[in-house]
C-alpha cells in the first residue's frame, strides 16, 4: 500500500504520541532520575518531530494507492502466502513439519501458477530437505507428526 509522504508523517506523529502515552504507565523508581520511560519518550518525541517535518514537506500524488501486488489475481496470491504462514503455525503441531510444509509449498506453487505434479514433487523434496537440515543435522525440535514418527 503506497502512502503519500504527508500521510506517513501523520502516522509517524500518531506513533510518537502512542509511544509517549504508552510510557505513562511505567512506574518510576524512587531516586532514579532516568527511568524506563526516559529513552522511549525521546524516541516518541523524535518520531513526532520527524512526522511534523514530513507534514511540512510538499507531497504529490493521492493519499493512498493500492500497489500492483494488491490488484487482480495478485491480491489472492499475497493473501494465500500470508495466510499460509498462519496456517503453518496452527496446523503443524497436529500434522507435523513434513506434511504441513509439503502442503503449504504445494498449495502456494499452484496458487502462483505452477503445475500439479512438478509442484507436488518440489514441495515434498524441499520439505524433506529442510527437515534433514534443521530437524536432523541442526537438531531443531520441529513439529512432530505421523511422518516424523515413522522416520525415527
Amino acid at each position: 500500500m503506497q502512502l503519500n509522504d504527508r500521510l506517513i508523517g501523520a502516522l509517524a506523529i500518531c506513533g510518537g504520541v502512542a509511544i509517549i502515552v504508552g510510557t505513562l504507565g511505567f512506574r518510576e523508581l524512587p531516586g532514579q532520575q532516568f527511568g524506563s520511560a526516559f529513552f522511549p519518550r525521546i524516541v516518541g518525541t523524535a518520531l513526532i518531530l520527524t512526522g511534523a517535518a514530513m507534514l511540512a514537506m510538499r507531497a504529490d500524488g493521492p493519499w493512498l494507492r493500492l500497489p500492483a501486488l494488491l490488484r487482480g489475481a495478485a491480491k489472492w496470491q499475497v493473501a494465500a502466502a500470508l495466510a499460509s504462514v498462519i496456517g503453518w503455525v496452527v496446523v503443524s503441531p497436529y500434522l507435523g513439519f513434513i506434511a504441513t510444509t509439503t502442503l503449504m509449498i504445494w498449495i502456494l506453487i499452484l496458487v502462483a501458477g505452477g503445475r500439479l505434479v512438478p509442484a507436488a514433487l518440489t514441495a515434498l523434496v524441499m520439505a524433506c530437505l529442510l527437515y534433514l537440515v534443521f530437524g536432523i543435522l541442526l537438531r531443531v525440535p520441529l513439529p512432530f507428526g505421523a511422518i516424523e514418527r515413522f522416520l525415527t
Binding site: A12, G15, V43, M104, T122, M126
Partner: protein, 494 residues
C-alpha cells in the same frame, strides 16, 4: 605472527572450510536466480549460523555475500535483469555483449573482476582495520554512545534515499528495541501482557521477515515470460589479453570500491555506480559505454566486490555498518558474543584474522565456482518464481522457528515481513530499522548510564576530545541535509 598462525588454523578447520564451501554454493545459486538478492540470502542463512561457532558463522556470511553479488551479474548479462542492485550499473554493457553473441566474454570479465576487486577489498580490510582499531582502543562509554549514534545516523540519513524516511525507519527500530524488560530498571515495556514479548523482539525473525518476506511476495506474484538463454562458448578464452589491456580499470575499480565501501552507509551499489562513472570519465571512448564496452564492466565489477569486503572495516572496528549485509552481520556478531569494536581486535584477534582469511578464501573461490555457475546458468534462469518463492517462504518459516523453537518466531517474522513490505512499497529503507533493533539496547544503555553518571549533565558527552569530534561529525550528518533542504526550498520560492 602467532595470531596469524592461530587464525590460519581456525580457518582451515574442516567445519570452517565446509561452511565456506556450502555457503558459497548457496550464494552463487541464489544470486544467479533473478529476484533473489544477496541480502535476502544472508537473512536466510542467519538461522543456520545460529548453530555454528563464530568463525564458520561469519565466514559463511562473507562467502555467501561475495558469491551472490558476483552471481547477480549472470541474470543481468543474459536477461538484462540485474540479480542484485550492485549489478545494475553495468547491466547494459553486459547485455549488449550477450546480444552481440559474446555472453561468455561478459560473464568471464565479471567473474575475474569480482575476484580481483574482492581480494583488493580484503587487503584494504586487513591493513586498515587493525590500524583503526589501535586508535580506537582508548574509547570510553561516551565514545561508544557517539559511535552507535554515528552508525545509526549514517544508515538513516546518508544511505537512505529520503533522510526523513530513513529517520522514521530508524526510530521504528529503536522503539522495537525498547520492547521487553528494561535492562536498567527491570520494568516491562510495551509487552501488552504477552509473556513472549517480555524477552524482547528476536532480531533474527524480525530481520528475516523484513528482508525476505517482501521478496517472496514480489516473486510469488511475478509473471515471468518464457526465457530463451543464449548458448555460451569457452568462458576463459581471450580473457587474459583483455585484462592485460584493461589492468588500469581493474585496479582502479578495486581501489575505488575499497574506498567507497569503507564509508559507513555506502555499500556495493554506490561503489559500482561511482566506479562506472569514473571509468567513463577516464575512458578514451566514453560514447561506447552502455553499448557492450568492457571498461565500465571491468571497473564497476571489481568495485562492487571490493566494496563488499571493505564495508567490514567500519563494521568490525566501530560497529558501524557499511551496508545492509554488514547491518545484519553486526547483529550476528552480538549473538556470537563478539561485540564489534576495537576491543575485539585486542580480546580475540585470531577470530578477526580468521574472518579476514575466510574472506580471502571466498573471493579466490569465485573463479572455480563462478565458472561452474556460468556453465549452469541456463538451467538456473529457467526456474520459475512460482516454484522458488514458496520454498523461500518455507525457509523463512523454519529459520524463524529454529531460533526459539516456538511459533512465536514465525509470527514475529510474519508481522515484521508485513511492516517490511509496507516500508518497501513506500521507499522507506529497511536497514536503519534493523540497525535500530540491534543497536537500540546498547544506545539506550550507554546513554542512560552516562546521564546517571553525570547526574543529568549533557556536557559529559563532549568532555573528551574524541567524543567531541565524534559529536561534531554526528551533528554535521544531521544538520547538513536540513541546510540543503532549506537552501533548495529558498531557491524554489520566487
Amino acid at each position: 605472527m602467532n595470531v596469524y598462525w592461530e587464525a590460519l588454523v581456525l580457518v582451515t578447520e574442516p567445519a570452517t572450510l565446509g561452511a565456506i564451501l556450502i555457503a558459497s554454493l548457496l550464494g552463487i545459486t541464489l544470486g544467479a536466480i533473478p529476484g533473489l538478492t544477496a541480502v535476502m540470502g544472508v537473512a536466510l542463512l542467519i538461522p543456520i549460523t545460529f548453530f555454528m561457532d563464530p568463525v564458520p558463522a561469519i565466514a559463511s556470511i562473507a562467502s555467501l555475500a561475495a558469491m551472490a553479488i558476483f552471481a547477480g551479474d549472470i541474470p543481468g548479462t543474459l536477461l538484462r535483469i540485474p540479480g542484485t542492485p550492485a549489478s545494475a550499473a553495468y547491466v547494459e554493457d553486459g547485455y549488449a555483449m550477450t546480444k552481440a553473441g559474446k555472453p561468455e566474454r561478459a560473464l568471464g570479465l565479471s567473474m575475474v573482476s569480482a575476484c580481483v576487486g574482492g581480494v583488493m577489498g580484503v587487503i584494504a580490510l586487513m591493513v586498515a582495520a587493525p590500524l583503526l582499531a589501535r586508535f580506537a582502543t582508548n574509547f570510553s562509554s561516551v565514545e561508544y554512545f557517539w559511535l552507535a549514534l554515528l552508525g545509526l545516523s549514517c544508515a538513516a540519513i546518508i544511505a537512505a534515499g529520503s533522510a526523513l524516511k530513513g529517520i522514521v525507519s530508524l526510530l521504528f527500530g529503536l522503539w522495537v528495541a525498547t520492547i521487553g524488560i528494561d535492562a536498567v530498571a527491570g520494568q516491562p515495556r510495551f509487552t501488552f501482557g504477552s509473556i513472549e514479548l517480555m524477552g524482547g523482539v528476536s532480531f533474527i525473525p524480525a530481520m528475516i521477515g523484513m528482508f525476505a518476506l517482501p521478496e517472496v511476495l514480489r516473486n510469488l506474484t511475478a509473471r515471468q515470460p518464457r526465457i530463451a538463454t543464449p548458448t555460451m562458448g569457452p568462458i576463459l578464452a581471450g580473457l587474459g589479453a583483455t585484462l592485460r589491456k584493461r589492468w588500469r580499470n581493474l585496479l582502479r575499480g578495486g581501489a575505488v570500491g575499497s574506498l567507497v565501501g569503507a564509508l559507513p552507509g555506502a555499500g556495493a551499489d554506490i561503489a559500482a555506480w561511482v566506479a562506472y562513472a569514473i571509468a567513463r570519465r577516464r575512458s578514451a571512448t566514453p560514447e561506447a559505454f552502455g553499448k557492450g564496452h568492457d571498461e565500465g564492466l571491468i571497473e564497476a565489477g571489481a568495485a562492487n566486490n571490493a566494496a563488499l569486503s571493505s564495508a567490514w572495516v567500519p563494521t568490525l572496528v566501530f560497529g558501524i555498518p557499511g551496508d545492509s549485509i554488514t547491518a545484519i552481520v553486526i547483529g550476528v556478531l552480538y549473538l556470537k558474543g563478539l561485540e564489534p569494536g576495537p576491543i575485539i581486535f585486542v580480546k580475540s584477534p585470531e577470530l578477526v584474522y580468521a574472518i579476514l582469511f575466510a574472506f580471502l578464501l571466498a573471493n579466490l573461490l569465485l573463479i572455480p565456482l563462478g565458472w561452474a555457475v556460468i556453465r549452469m546458468a541456463r538451467h538456473l534462469l529457467r526456474i520459475p518464481p512460482a516454484y522458488f518463492a514458496p520454498v523461500v517462504l518455507a525457509c523463512c518459516i523454519v529459520g524463524s522457528f529454529a531460533i526459539n523453537n516456538t511459533s512465536y518466531g514465525v509470527l514475529t517474522m510474519l508481522a515484521f515481513g508485513v511492516v517490511g513490505w509496507i516500508f518497501e512499497e513506500n521507499r522507506i529503507p529497511i536497514a536503519p530499522a534493523i540497525l535500530g533493533i540491534v543497536l537500540g539496547g546498547m544506545l539506550e544503555f550507554n546513554f542512560v548510564t552516562s546521564m546517571l553518571k553525570s547526574r543529568g549533565d549533557l556536557a559529559i558527552f563532549v568532555s573528551r576530545p574524541v567524543a567531541a569530534a565524534l559529536a561534531l561529525i554526528v551533528l554535521m550528518i544531521w544538520v547538513l541535509p536540513i541546510m540543503r533542504a532549506m537552501r533548495s526550498r529558498r531557491k524554489e520560492s520566487p
